[in-house]
């Protein structure tokens, strides 16, 4: 009788062990699909593990893998959803911190700057992560960088030794940026000067020409006591070109800054070897 019991127990233990081993193999398969950049299939297989993982042994790994796959596939909202699930099932403080940082990185990518900042504040207040202040500073720098606040980003990266390269890039961008208010101010004083400051010479000269022409016609009309003509030319033509000159100056400066922003992010995406969102 006893041997039968023992064999039965052995079979049951082997069965349970095999089932868990199968899940482990399945998870490894999902991870290999992820490594091959087959994100859709990686998500399917990871979800299969999650569905059959009755003991919830792999919850954290599975949710993290699904989230990573969604993120690499460009589905940021879905990625956050699964990182949040992973966060809730994190086994250690390190896993929790790493997952929270991943959520922050996605928020930086989707330009949810205030949310990312708030999440960084929360992490900073948490005593478990007191030793990770430089990591938090580093991601604050990235948040500022994506927020087009290069000066603050440079200051933050300046406090971290390993981020000197990023600091230099931010300082360089800050130097290259055009001041929108300066461009506008120039065009207020001298029509077309703001456009010339931003490198749009033809537009600047044309703007100057139109303003001189309609200014002259307006003054001439008033001098000849043709008040109605003067008002109409002044209000409908001169003022319109003068205002257009101001908005053009601001628009060109913003466009140039936006180009600089995109080029820098593109450069960092392709060439920066360190951690990035």
């Amino acid at each position: 009788m006893k041997p039968l019991w023992l064999i039965f127990l052995l079979v049951i233990s082997v069965k349970v062990g095999l089932a868990q081993a199968q899940l482990g193999t399945q998870l490894a398969y999902a991870e290999s699909l992820f490594a091959q950049e087959k994100y859709f299939d990686a998500i399917t297989e990871a979800k299969r593990v999650a569905f059959f993982d009755s003991t919830e042994q792999y919850v954290f790994e599975v949710n993290s893998l699904i989230a990573d796959s969604y993120k690499n596939g460009g589905k940021l909202s879905e990625a956050v959803q699964y990182y949040t699930k992973a966060e809730m099932s994190a086994n250690t403080a390190d896993e929790l911190f790493a997952t929270k940082i991943k959520i922050i990185k996605i928020n930086i990518l989707r330009r949810a700057f205030y949310l990312a900042n708030h999440q960084l504040d929360e992490l900073e207040k948490d005593s478990r992560f007191a030793s990770d202040s430089s990591t938090l500073q580093y991601w604050r720098g990235w948040n500022d960088l994506f927020h087009d606040d290069w000066q603050n980003a440079a200051a933050r990266f300046g406090k971290i030794d390993s981020a000197a390269a990023l600091k230099n890039i931010c300082q360089e961008v800050q130097k290259k940026k055009y001041s929108v208010s300066f461009a506008k101010g120039l065009s207020i004083i001298f029509p077309g000067a703001g456009q010339i400051y931003t490198g749009n010479y033809v537009s600047g000269v044309l703007s100057l020409g139109w303003n001189v022409l309609f200014g002259y016609l307006t003054v001439q009309a008033f001098s000849a006591e043709r008040v109605f003509d003067g008002v109409v030319i002044g209000a409908m033509l001169w003022l319109r070109f003068y205002n257009g000159n101001l908005s053009n100056a601001a628009k060109f400066a913003e466009e140039k800054n936006s180009m600089l922003y995109n080029e820098t992010l593109d450069y960092l995406q392709k060439n920066y070897q360190g951690n990035k969102p």
Binding site: W5, V11, K15, L18, Q26, I43, R48, V49
Partner: protein, 282 residues
């Protein structure tokens, strides 16, 4: 007796060990996983899993679920194809009803009229309501509203009546009338199409250029008078044409608004299709 019992248990356990050879990819497990994905609204993956099981073991209910996945994803042609293969199966009536729903969603005319009537009373009523809703979508009339009244619940009758009245009462703006109004008084056509801002601007601009033209004629500046006359003509005819377009835009926008209101109402009712036939999820 007891040893016989343990022996049986042992045999079952060992055989279940061998059953694990295919791991998580046995048809039963794949189906359970597909059902889970379906309820998670991950329809693309659910369809793939159902298809994998169906390829191994053809089954009407699996085919039906594949169709449901495509329907939920908005892949109507694929869904119709799957449902069309089930017409003579035990899920034939459900498939026909869902095909009718797809016809509605795809703005197709009612092709179900030549088909035999539904045996199931619930589906029969649903199909009648949906068929009539489709007719109303194409063109609402008092007659088909009355026919619909016979097969609707009291609450639905009230809703349909409101939709009918909204559709019936709104007045189309005639593009030709708008153009004529603007020809008589610049901007009046636009005001007639409730485009008040543009109407007043048209009146002011055309009036201003006319005045400038007149003043320059009086002042003996023929060149300037011609320039302003040209501008007046340009704005005048532009305003006439603009009023014609404005009336057309008004009609189109109003129709879109009413159709969207009607569609969202029907969507909230799941197009009268019982939700149970679209997959149960806890």
């Amino acid at each position: 007796m007891r040893s016989y019992f343990f022996f049986c248990l042992l045999v079952i356990s060992i055989s279940s060990l061998f059953a694990q050879e295919r791991g998580l990819l046995t048809p039963e497990k794949r189906k359970a996983f597909a059902d889970y994905l379906f309820c998670e609204k991950d329809y693309l993956r659910a369809a793939e899993e159902f298809e994998a099981v169906n390829n191994e073991n053809q089954n009407d209910s699996l085919q039906y679920k594949i169709g449901l996945c495509f329907l939920k994803m908005g892949e109507y042609e694929k869904a119709k194809h799957d449902f069309s293969q089930l017409r003579n199966s035990s899920l034939g009536e459900e498939s026909r009803l869902l095909t009718l729903k797809i016809a509605f969603l795809q703005n197709e005319g009612n092709k179900e009229s030549t088909e035999p009537s539904f045996k199931n009373e619930v589906y029969k009523t649903a199909s009648l309501r949906l068929t009539m809703a489709l007719k109303i979508k194409e063109r609402i009339t008092q007659t088909n509203l009355i026919s619909l009244g016979n097969i609707l619940d009291e609450n639905d009758k009230v809703d349909f009546n409101t939709i009918f009245l909204n559709k019936e009462r709104w007045q189309r703006k005639s593009p030709f009338a708008a153009a004529i109004f603007s020809a008589i008084l610049p901007g009046a056509g636009k005001i007639y199409t409730k485009n008040y801002g543009d109407g007043i601007t048209s009146l002011v601009v055309t009036g201003l250029f006319t005045f400038l033209c007149y003043e320059n004629i009086l002042a003996g500046h023929p060149t300037r008078a011609w320039i302003f006359a040209g501008l007046t003509g340009f704005f005048y005819w532009g305003n006439v044409y603009g009023s014609y377009i404005s009336a057309r835009n008004y009609n189109r926008e109003k129709e879109e608004e009413l159709n969207s209101e009607y569609e969202s109402y029907l969507g909230s009712k799941n197009y009268f299709v019982p939700e149970e036939i679209e997959g149960k999820c806890k």
